[in-house]
Amino acid sequence: MRKLDADRNAGSISIEGLTRRFGAVHAVDGVSLDIRAGEFLALLGPSGSGKTTILMSIAGFEYPDEGRILLGGEDITWLPPNRRNLGMVFQRYTLFPHMSVLENIAFPLKMRGLGRAEREERARAALRTVRLDQLGERRPAQLSGGQQQRVAIARAIVYRPRVLLMDEPLSALDKNLREEMQIEIKHLQREIGITVVFVTHDQTEALTMADRVAVLDHGRLQQLGAPRELYEAPQTEFVAGFIGETNFWSGSAAAAAAPGEAVGVRLEGSGVMPALAVSRVAAGDRVRLALRPERLRILPGAAEGVPALVTEAIYAGNATTLMLEAAGGQVLRLRIPAGAGLPEAVAGEAVTLGWQAADARAFGVAP
């Protein structure tokens, strides 16, 4: 029983209080993260937020100033990279140019002392799983970018590691190929049940591929959650702004509220509107309201709401985006999906805006 449990957890990673400084820069600042075995976790954040440093610490090329890293419950913080038995796919320059595709894939097997025949057989099998059976004899330079990354993946899984680390592996590919590869990697991950830690600065990539996403900013973990959670219930203003499109509007709380409670917000230049307090607020506290463009509604006729002027209407087939200016000069975007029969508007029209309390998240602003 214990053996089974150990096997099941072999692909789990615990990052505990990881801190890495470069001079005065806190590249990673007290990050704690539990990654489950078999999970697809994305590390998402803007450039310089510490994603690569975290991944390199898991890989063993960076040693932390503080904290530890456990793999399947075992402390690997100080273990050299070649003894961690992890798979990794880099952004580019992944395949050794002086070896054929098959030799590249067989390389980790050679390092593990397998015989020639078994190496070849397993390398061919791995090449089949990434659907490149025919290209084994080629040199990496003779493959397209997408094929090279597929071979790199085959090479990283041929020795059946528990964990596969990927650092922006698709960022050098063009858009169509990137989307195709996203789906392919996701399928492969489900098929072989490997834990994947995937670094990206592309939120769409993170949301479509990952089971859970860890959002980073300035080396700090901002939020860890399923894609839907991040989009629907961002816990910080940064996450609300970084994931998806958001209108921010400053105001003050009309009353005190606990996290998760409804609260009225007095908007700058407008009246009081309903919102949901994300953090605890006292009456009169300054807050920032986050509103998704597609959750804003144009209210019919004489309904009570925020008066605004349509400055521009941009038709884009599947939706129409309205640029609005509310009282006090606040600029807003509003998106009306096509075909839902929602009221539309034209440039120059005066409209009244409204929203559900749950769709307006109020973040306390540090005074």
């Binding site: 890989a59 320059y93 980790p108």
Partner: protein
């Protein structure tokens, strides 16, 4: 190019003319005269060449020249590789200092550097004094006028010609290759053997060829640091010309050396790439 155009053949020739003229007057003409003499004086034929290749004394000098050049190349490679590796992974001030340390000797006279070795190696030189003070030796040991001393000093003098192409080749290996190898389970030694070494081979060939060819014709260092027992071919040529005034025979020795060098260059012509010496791997 100036003005963004490629030069026409005529313009190229005009620009290169001063150098080509100089090459013709001070290199090709004297060399041709010398080779001509070696073939026609005292009588037409290969007599001078046969003499050089049949006489055991001269043959020994030639074989010794090959052996010393080979050992110098090997030692220079072993000394230069780690240095070039560190340089290729350094940036900023560190790289500037290392680069200066490599190039500075190149800008000082070979004679000065050779005399420095003599000061170190002579009977009551720095090394002997230190060994004596440490109580390791009673009598000064003979360091100067040995083959080891010649090899060591020549390797030092020629080191920059090994470091530069190695640096250039290693610089062209992205950090991700050795990293990928380690992720895939390669120990540091296996990473070197399987990935870094094969990828830097063009630089190794380039540097070795350069050092070997320069070592073959080296004069100052072996002449000063080696004794008669360590005579190399350049010293022999000089002896024939200055002491025996036997120009035709010296010409034959030069002809043999030249033929050997040309054969090597042709054999490795793909490795002799000038761009490796100016940093475009």
């Amino acid at each position: 190019m100036l003005g963004g155009r490629r030069f026409s053949p005529a313009a190229s020739l005009a620009l290169a003319a001063p150098f080509l003229l100089l090459l013709l007057v001070v290199f090709i003409l004297p060399l041709a005269t010398l080779l001509h003499e070696s073939l026609f004086v005292p009588s037409p034929g290969l007599g001078n060449y046969a003499h050089a290749l049949e006489e055991p004394v001269y043959l020994r000098v030639m074989l010794r020249t090959l052996r010393i050049a080979f050992l110098v190349t090997l030692l220079a490679l072993v000394l230069a590789w780690p240095l070039a590796w560190v340089m290729s992974r350094s940036r900023g001030l560190g790289l500037a200092l290392l680069g200066a340390a490599v190039l500075l000797p190149l800008w000082t006279s070979v004679l000065v550097r050779t005399y420095a070795w003599m000061v170190l190696l002579q009977r009551n030189g720095v090394i002997n004094q230190m060994l004596a003070r440490l109580g390791l030796i009673e009598q000064p040991v003979r360091l100067l006028y040995t083959e080891g001393a010649v090899v060591l000093a020549m390797a030092h003098v020629l080191l920059p010609f090994m470091v530069l192409p190695l640096y250039s080749a290693l610089k062209g290996i992205p950090e991700d290759y050795p990293r990928a190898a380690q992720m895939l389970g390669a120990s540091p030694w296996a990473t070197f053997r399987e990935v870094v070494w094969p990828l830097c081979l063009p630089g190794v060939t380039s540097g070795c060829l350069m050092v070997f060819l320069l070592a073959l014709g080296f004069f100052v260092t072996p002449a000063l640091i080696g004794g008669p027992q360590q005579m190399m071919i350049a010293t022999l040529v000089s002896q024939q010309v200055r002491e025996l005034l036997d120009w035709p025979f010296a010409g034959a020795l030069v002809g043999i050396l030249l033929a050997f060098v040309l054969a090597l260059v042709l054999l490795f012509r793909r490795a002799v790439r000038l761009d490796r010496f100016v940093g475009q791997a």
